[in-house]
Amino acid sequence: MTAKEQWLAGAGKALPVVLGYLPLGFAYGALASLAGISLPYIVLMSLLVFAGSGQFIAVNMYAAGAGSLSIIATVFLVNLRHLLMSASLSPYLQKFPRQSLPLVAFGLTDENYALACGEFSRGERGHYYLLGLFSTSHAGWIGGSALGGIFGELFNSTSAAYTMEFALYAMFIFLLVIQISDKKLLLAGCLSGMLALLFYQVIPGSWYIILATVCTATLGVMMEKWQKS
């Protein structure tokens, strides 16, 4: 296949992600416009950041009057989960030309990652294929954001924002469900959820996310070691 054919084949596989990104991007764009962010910046954020949950959280915090530094720090913490995704794709990426890695990394959202894993498990995929997939879903995200920023005012009410904000939780719930592939992970999910609820009530700020995660992963590894010995 030529580079163009590979790119188009990858782009075609992005359809499920694009369909998911249009309403999510719309919800983000509408919430951002309710928070007082202007359309060019709404679109610029989707163009340069490309992080669904990170952008939702940033807009929430911005609307609540949080400072830029604390928003950036929170987005960083929320995005730390991508360290693992990036690491776990490495074996497949070893054959890619090195100059393609900066572009591949840019598109590594949760959904693109999940889709890429599926593609790699079906056989060899080149960098043009992967970049076709990632850039098409990015276009869907930017398009949805712009539409939300433009038409979001039509839904300018707290009740609409309340409904649209749930898109974030529905997305997380979906990603959680598809990542629970065995009993250990099911247990880890339950444990982390309970720890997070506990930390959420006793520790101020959003540290509860990273604390619950670090405790859960550490306990999980300790349990595996203990089972083996």
Partner: protein, 105 residues
């Protein structure tokens, strides 16, 4: 609005680095198995930690009642996600449930 621009650029940097650095380094190295085992728990743990406090609390208080629309909608979203493995369907049905519940209670 210059502040928003700085915010966006800062977010872009802290989003990009965790996506790029591991693959940049690890396409050249091997990761210790213990680290791989630890990292395997991270996605599920992060997502559960994001979801649970958000759906079980209303204004910071644990609220388990029909008045907590997010909780009921989440249970439905869990079922849809588990049964159909479809993100768009999960998001759409979840949002529809919140919209309907809001008008009931």
């Amino acid at each position: 609005m210059a502040e928003v621009l700085i915010l966006i650029l800062g977010m872009a940097v802290v989003t990009y680095l965790p996506r790029f650095l591991p693959m940049y380094v690890l396409t050249r190295l091997e990761i210790p198995p213990l680290v791989i085992a630890w990292l395997r728990y991270v996605p599920v743990a992060v997502l559960a930690a994001l979801v649970v406090p958000g759906i079980l609390t209303v204004n910071g208080q644990i609220t388990i009642s029909p008045a907590n629309h997010y909780l009921l909608a989440s249970l439905l979203a869990f079922l849809v996600a588990w049964r159909y493995k479809n993100m768009m369907l999960t998001v759409t049905i979840g949002m529809a449930a919140v919209l309907i519940l809001q008008n009931l209670w």
